[in-house]
Symmetry: C2
Subunit: 160 residues, 2 copies
DNA sequence: GTGAGTGCAAATGCTTTGCAGACGT
DNA sequence: ACGTCTGCAAAGCATTTGCACTCAC
């Protein structure tokens, strides 16, 4: 059980929006709720599907505008995980990165602390501050590695 | 353009194409030449601009088809460096990665060996084989770091 | 000669934008 | 009441695809 403020059931992001003087519209709240409920990364369209169940008239354009706003506010992060699907994610307490399998599309979450040494080294040697919330590593997942050992050239493959 | 025979100064990628039984069309050769001459990463449109000077009637669709082919052949790598520009690059001898500044768009090349320890660790702990040629790290470059220390929220900024 | 490769143009899919009306503060 | 936010539809942009023709082999 965590310590809460005066409103026991209001998530922290509502207070955060208030603090930034951003209007609490139902659309914004329901987008945040979608991201919070789902937990992981969602595409704009996935958010629309989820949201449409309780807020049918919401528009995809609005979703995009809200996501841009939330990213500027620092509540949401954007991640390009491959070519055709930009994903969005609520920034939570546990920073992590993504391992994207280029064969089957599986996305694995990677503990954020693993990257710390590399980040430090890049900061020292290049003066470049790597954003810990905006990273994807592409490659082949264990399953595809085992399945495709005999293969010489990358192919389109999808797991059932 | 007529059939080319073996030439002592022909780049390695021509032999590689032959080895894979892929046809050596002038379009393919000129796309490879563009990538080889330019050295770094190019967007499909940049390749078109370069190629159009000596091969005016080439189509952007063909560029994309050729790039897909070259990627499958392992001669070219694709890198999503930010949202609106997919870049392509000839795979050379010195593997490297990209540091993309989300403020000014600068792209810094990162020595490939820096990632080796992280790759090994991910392979051990997750069984995931990170593709060493397909990586971008996003963050803030030294210049923007120094220039924007007082800033609290990321903004659109472009260096001259 | 034959099948793969190409040019053209239209289609696609994701994202952004213009504008009039709606709504949170 | 004010200025912002939203819905709708249309535009934008990079990328893909269908089809007839061309060309490397």
């Amino acid at each position: 059980m965590t310590t809460r403020h005066f409103r026991p059931d209001s998530p922290g992001y509502i207070e955060q929006l208030r603090r930034l003087r951003l209007r609490l519209t139902p659309q914004r709240l329901v987008v945040l709720e979608a991201l919070a409920t789902h937990g992981g990364h969602m595409t704009a369209d996935e958010i629309l599907q989820w949201v449409a169940q309780r807020y049918p008239d919401i528009s995809l354009a609005t979703i995009y505008r809200i996501l841009d706003l939330l990213i500027s506010a620092g509540l949401v992060s954007r991640a390009d995980l491959g070519g055709n699907a930009t994903c969005f994610e609520l920034i939570g307490d546990s920073p992590h990165h993504h391992l994207v399998c280029t064969r089957c599309g599986t996305i694995i979450e990677l503990d954020g602390t693993l990257l710390a040494p590399l980040r430090e080294r890049i900061l020292c040697e290049y003066g470049f501050q790597v954003d810990p919330r905006h990273l994807a590593l592409f490659g082949i997942c264990r399953r595809c590695l085992t399945a495709g050992q005999t293969r010489t050239m990358p192919q389109e493959t999808t797991h059932p």
